[in-house]
């Protein structure tokens, strides 16, 4: 499934956990696509505060405060609330109702075998102290996806098992009732190269590693980040031949520089020797400044009126509830839970 395969009949469900402002990695991996796709089909964007709480109960104010921050990021990059439905997960109770029924359709051992969950349990060091809400979040995610009858869910490679889990629940539900009402979804995995490394060269960008560049970074922060950026540690003198693979500056130039020909020439020159890190970093800094300046500016403008953002979220959430309520009532009716 590629973005170019999407038709006007498709419905996209995607979103972000509200644990921090978004960064360049989000921009390359998803935000950029959302701006394009909102003109092509229906798109629901979930501010996943309830999901973020599954492993942030000790830090709930962070989760809450970042709802506004992520919404600002969305608007700043050009997501248009008139085209995309942006909504707050915790304010759509239909999702928890759906999830509660889906929990009956998946076994504990199936959840424990889910590779994504297994990895994340390891990453978070839960061992045997896995919060139940964490183990069962595939059911909640199935609710998020199916509530909107989403046909497309953009995910990283590592999240594909989650979509398979959703589709298993869909099939099990549909085959348990007389009127199948749920819709299977396809994973849309970003093209190779859409995963940006951290500025320190680590594969994973993360705020806690301090190796990201947020969308709201100041001109100075951008300058600093590019300066610190990992290149080729063996490229000691300008005249030395340099490595392009694993060189973060080139990964970023590939991701952001509009002039593909120029980047190609820079790579060749760098590999031959005679091109200093400072030159390639200057090219990168210029294009990042150019990319982020209008985003930062729009973000500041929107941030001046938080009440307007909340009003926008309220409207989006109301629209999301409307859609989810239809699915929920179909699901409940299919199970005979329509009493009056």
């Amino acid at each position: 499934m590629k973005p170019s395969d999407i038709t006007s009949q498709d419905i996209i469900l995607t979103g972000d956990r509200t644990t921090g402002s978004l960064h360049l990695g989000h921009y390359v991996g998803s935000l950029r696509n959302r701006v394009l796709l909102q003109d092509r089909c229906q798109q629901f964007l979930l501010l996943a505060d309830a999901q973020a709480l599954t492993d942030n109960m000790g830090n709930y104010l962070k989760v809450r405060d970042n709802v506004l921050q992520v919404a600002l990021d969305y608007l700043a990059v050009g997501i248009d609330p008139a085209k995309s439905t942006i909504f707050i997960q915790s304010l759509v109770p239909e999702l928890t109702e759906l999830a509660s029924y889906y929990l009956n359709l998946v076994t504990v051992s199936r959840l424990e075998r889910n590779p994504t969950i297994k990895d994340e349990i390891k990453q978070r060091g839960y061992e045997r102290d896995i919060p139940a809400g964490f183990l069962t979040y595939p059911a909640a995610q199935a609710a998020d996806i199916t509530a909107f009858k989403a046909t497309i869910v953009p995910v990283g490679e590592d999240q594909i098992p989650m979509i398979e889990q959703t589709n298993e629940i869909v099939r099990r539900f549909n085959s348990s009732v007389d009127t199948p009402v749920l819709v299977e979804a396809k994973a849309m995995v970003p093209a190779v190269g859409a995963r940006l490394p951290g500025i320190d060269g680590k594969a994973k960008m993360s705020k806690s590693l301090g190796n990201t560049l947020t969308l709201s970074a100041t001109a100075d922060e951008i300058r600093q980040a590019v300066k610190m950026m990992y290149t080729d540690p063996n490229h000691l003198r300008v005249s030395d031949p340099g490595q392009v693979e694993g060189n973060v500056v080139f990964s970023y130039l590939d991701a952001f520089h509009p002039n593909i020909e120029l980047v190609k020439r820079l790579k060749e020159h760098y590999q031959q020797g005679g091109l200093g890190d400072s030159v390639i970093k200057q090219h990168l800094e210029e294009c990042l400044q150019e990319l982020l300046a209008p985003i930062r500016q729009r973000r500041e403008e929107y941030a001046r009126d938080p009440a307007a953002i909340l009003a926008m979220l309220k409207q989006g959430t109301a629209r999301a509830r409307q859609v989810a309520a239809v699915t929920l009532s179909e699901v409940k009716a299919a199970m005979g839970l329509n009493y009056y």
Copy 2:
């Protein structure tokens, strides 16, 4: 915690899974008490259709149809919807919302160690194929209890760990937030003898064992049941001394016969010998016919107007939602999830 300790400040939450009509075991163990207690304090009665679905997804129409049947049983025994709030679980979405947050406050291994859950997993033969909704139902039950700020939950001895689990969640939630809003509940365990054996002498009464007598039993069914009732298998001749312990007829006489002195004399006579099973059975049949005739009659009257029952349930459910919504909004506000 005994019924006599209950004050007007107390709030009771109790109810029944809607998997079948209620029987004499329910009457002795709980219904009788509810009729008394509805005059003493607030009482919420849950028709647990969603909970019944956790292990009845393959038989959802049974679950649905028994909502009406259990409601009829309630009314027939004298539960008054003007005093007790009778409501349908699946129509109170606030409960699933609360449960979704509680799932973050309990670990998978804690749920797996819950003795009640362990027993029920064994009873149902789930082994490793435990539906996630089944393992996590203590969180759903904590939602049912706390949504109404219940202080008292009548439960069997075997269910005490469930109340402890609820209170653990309550304490964990209250200590995670600045404003503790949840209330701990006490288990109210019925007095010894309030557990009625099956008519075949088996400890557990269950519809599937065919050893129950439903509240809607006809006069003929009552006669048959008493006739088949297990007594003392060694009491072969009237003149033989008979056993009172484990003799179902005497268990039922203890539970139902209004004349305690008479029952005492019958026991003595039976133990000495010279009292036939047919005589004690006749005493029992008379008192059961007397007890059940008006219940059956009221049940038939109510059953003539299912629309009126549904209207009553609609009203009770609306009232339950009102109360649960207040708790939910307090819980969400305490976690900062009050955006607008």
